[in-house]
Amino acid sequence: MSPVTVLIPTLLRPLVGDRSAVEVPLEAPAPVSAVLDTVADGRPIFARRIRDETGALRRYVNVYVDGEDVRRADGLATPVSPGSEVMIIQSVAGG
């Protein structure tokens, strides 16, 4: 079993114990939503920062699975394999 590494953006690190990455145990491929659920478990504020109450990824939050933007793949159903890297990053927005 090889864990998935979820990279946390600087602004959200206080919500996950000031860590820059969270490891999620994974035995078989799973949708990225399930990986995010695991990171967000017990961290409701973190959960709300990433996804709204319908479960949708917030508009200016991007998630990459092994470097691929999930919006260009299968959205939150994009599969993540054991050993993968999931990166959460805010998009360039605002002025």
Binding site: L12, P44, I45, R48, R49, E53, T54, Q90
Partner: protein, 369 residues
Amino acid sequence: METTLLAIGTKKGLWLATSTDRHNWSLSQPHHLMTEIPSVGIDTRGGRTRILVGMMDWHWGPTVVYSDDLGATWSEPEQGAIKFAESDETALGRIWQLQPDSEERPGVVWAGCEPISVWKSTDGGEHFELNRGLWDHPHRSEWGAGFGGAAAHSVLPSPADDTVHVAMSTGGVYRSTDGGQSWEPRNKGISAYFMPDPNPEFGQCVHKIARDSVNPQRLYAQNHHGVYRSDDGAETWESIADGLPADFGFVMLSHPRRSGTAWVVPLKADGERIPPDARLAVHRTDDAGATWTRLDKGLPPTEYNAVLRDAAGVDTADPVGVYFGTRGGSVYASADEGENFTEVASHLPDVLCVRAAVVVGTAAPVASP
């Protein structure tokens, strides 16, 4: 010792100003820097000062935070204070209004939000319940979005009974007489010149409403062109725009103790959203809109920035303090009901909301980390 607290929500953070004489102000460092602050409520009921803030982070979404120590520390309800149920299949967009109810209803705070929705808290703003009566209203599909989004931006519970008035852009004024269980449009007399039928039952773009403090049946409205008063709980509205340099604008304030006194900040027109002749002024009526007095002492001779619907407020001191901020980041205070203004701050980001209150204590607000 009494201190006046002025909360200034901007496009890039919250500033808190305090003063013991309402002339000399001490301005904090920014709180929640780089977060849009469209709504602030200061709840002084029960001897506690709670600053409620409706934040909007364009990356991380909207949320409510509050401080019970004048901004020294902030708390965010873990589960989110305002949240749609999964079955509603929608998400909170923006918190436009945080309105504490009257002294007789301690703990009750109302919120007006985008998408158009009204929420009620009974625990001081830590958790809100969606008002289902308005959410399930059959008119919902016909309400539209103003330029700033589709929102319930004014929530006015009556201190006298179970009446609540709500104003939305666009949709107009709705009234409930049963504490929010059922709602009816109440826009008779308010123009919607931008629609095929300029006098529809609903659909008006009412920018702000305020309730008369002495006569709860009397309301004032600043419309998208048009300034109105109702003396019958919004059953009918009549124009009180005569005597103003323009009938466009966003602000409507009422006096906390005196009937018939209200303030507006006119802008030239829908298509020219600047003060008339670029001369910024507040206008006050003391006779429920029969006449208006122009007030501009202490204001700049030239101003091209608008004053948004919640970027103005009053305190409860005697005489009443009047406060407003511009999209150019200037904030002004008057300690004498608008007769004279002093500048509290300048060069802030666009001012979105301003609220003031007399609080107990002298603690100076500090910046959050």
